[in-house]
């Protein structure tokens, strides 16, 4: 076993193991006290956690997470904590200090468009880099993918999905739809039972992440205590502040090689304030949709003016105030019936 242990002898780095074993009088005294602890024969060299972290490439993912996701401070903190836990767990595994695979199933709660799916994808990557899932892919499903239409349809459907997700992460969006309290013969129950069984017995084969809005999720867990007890990490995704939404908008545009003009930025800020008051607001996704429509209007504006003006690359990159202000969010004006005005948000999602 000794060759699997990393010991670099850095004196400055604290070693969780040496603390654990520092008490007690000599090896024989400890031996009888904790007879079946396999670590006892191990050397007491220091373990370089920092190096473990770099080696796993997790720091990269975490930094990317910080850079590419605006806001979400509590979520990022939780993910760092989980990553730290997993890192320590990984080292403990190498030393033979833990035998049971840890429970890694999670639940992500938060309003629409708060980044749950995006974070789940990163989580799959982190779990893969740390060696807690073998492949690191993410299969995203909803009730319809798991639950069948008639007797005998559900179990094969659920198993098919589970098989595809093996070695990676199964992301169940709006998980509470699996359970329909009003109908006790609902086939969802069958899917739930299969899920629970695999979540318990095949913890090293896949990680399940349940996602949904906080309220219904809470109700779902209350009626399905089996799920709650199998989930190790509950992470809550807060709504974005106006400033964060603006920053997200700029980030989305930058990724597509667009940018906002100064007045465009102002218009987007106004749009955010106005949009938030209206129904079906879904945080970052609403911004993404608004910007998609703004690009459409921008293209149209440029094409129409092309006869009179010389177009530069800069023009093609710039989203200007009119592109956003034509939105129906700013009231039912003349533009409301034009094909480029906003429909209700949901038709664009």
């Amino acid at each position: 076993m000794a060759e699997t242990i990393r010991s670099y002898g850095h004196p400055g780095i604290t070693d969780p193991l040496s603390c654990e074993r520092s008490g007690g009088g000599g090896p024989s005294a400890t031996l009888s006290a904790v007879a079946n602890q396999p670590a006892l024969g191990l050397p007491t060299e220091f373990i370089d956690l920092a190096r473990e972290l770099t080696e796993a490439g997790v720091e990269e993912v975490l930094t990317e997470l910080d850079d590419e996701l605006i806001g979400l401070a509590p979520v990022k903190t939780r993910i760092r904590e989980i990553a730290a836990l997993l890192l320590v767990e990984r080292v403990r595994r190498k030393l033979g200090l833990s035998s049971e695979p840890p429970t890694l199933h999670m639940s992500f709660t938060g309003n629409p468009g708060t980044g749950k799916t995006t974070v789940a994808l990163r989580m799959a990557d982190i779990l893969h880099r740390l060696g807690f899932v073998r492949k690191g892919h993410l299969i995203s499903v909803t009730r319809d993918d798991l639950v069948g239409q008639y007797i005998g349809h559900t179990a094969p459907k659920t198993k098919e999905i589970l098989k595809r997700a093996m070695g990676g992460v199964l992301f169940i969006d709006e998980a509470y739809y699996l359970y329909r309290a009003e109908n006790e013969r609902d086939y969802g129950q069958e899917a739930i039972e299969i899920l629970l069984q695999v979540m318990e017995n095949q913890r090293e084969d896949l990680v399940v992440i349940l996602a949904g809005y906080a309220g219904p999720m809470e109700k779902f867990f209350r009626s399905n205590p089996g799920f709650r007890s199998r989930i190790a990490h509950h992470i809550d995704f807060p709504d974005y502040a106006d400033g964060e939404l603006l920053a997200i908008g700029e980030l989305i545009l930058a990724k597509q090689n667009y940018k906002l003009s100064d007045s465009g930025r102002e218009a987007l800020a106004h749009y955010i304030t106005a949009r938030k008051q209206q129904p079906h607001f879904s945080n970052a996704r609403s911004i993404r949709n608004a910007l998609d429509r703004a690009r459409l209007r921008q293209a149209n504006r440029i094409v129409r003016s092309a006869a009179n003006l010389k177009i530069t690359a800069k023009d093609l990159m710039t989203i200007d105030a009119p592109d956003l202000l034509a939105s129906r969010v700013f009231g039912q004006d003349a533009t409301a019936n034009s094909p480029l005005s906003d429909e209700t948000e949901s038709t664009f999602d």
Partner: protein, 139 residues
């Protein structure tokens, strides 16, 4: 009589860890993994029953092992084999196939001699178990 068929027939039966590694090899090569079972051990029997559908969109052998465990639960008294099918153009054929389960008792084959025209003798083998109807042959 211990039946041998397919790849690795010269080896002792594969352990589950070895089966898993072979299944992962198939997946990594992009082959569809199939589980089949039968209670007719004759080497010329090509009509094995499929257990479920071919598994072509999986990433990890855990999925195969899950199905295999279920197949063994249902048909643990029969022969079960695992095969990897390469669907790529020009191949379209089974690339690897091996036994992953066998009945606890394997009575083997009888040799039948048939006197034919002239002084010819035709030889054929028959599995003792196929005297009994399908589904009632082992255990």
């Amino acid at each position: 009589m211990r039946l041998t068929q397919g790849c690795f027939s010269f080896l002792p039966d594969l352990t589950d860890a070895q089966i898993r590694a072979q299944a992962q090899y198939c997946i990594d090569n992009g082959w569809a993994v199939n589980i089949e079972f039968t209670d007719d051990p004759h080497p010329r029997n090509t009509y094995w029953e499929m257990w479920g559908l071919p598994m072509f969109d999986i990433k990890d052998a855990a999925a195969v092992m899950m199905e295999l465990a279920e197949c063994r639960r249902a048909y643990g008294d029969r022969y079960i084999r695992l095969s990897g099918f390469d669907s790529s153009h020009g191949w379209e054929s089974v690339k690897l196939s091996f036994l992953v389960n066998r009945p606890s008792e394997e009575p083997g084959f009888r040799l039948v001699r048939q006197e034919a025209e002239g002084r010819n003798v035709r030889y054929t083998t028959q599995a003792y178990v196929t005297d009994r109807p399908e589904g009632k042959r082992y255990g």
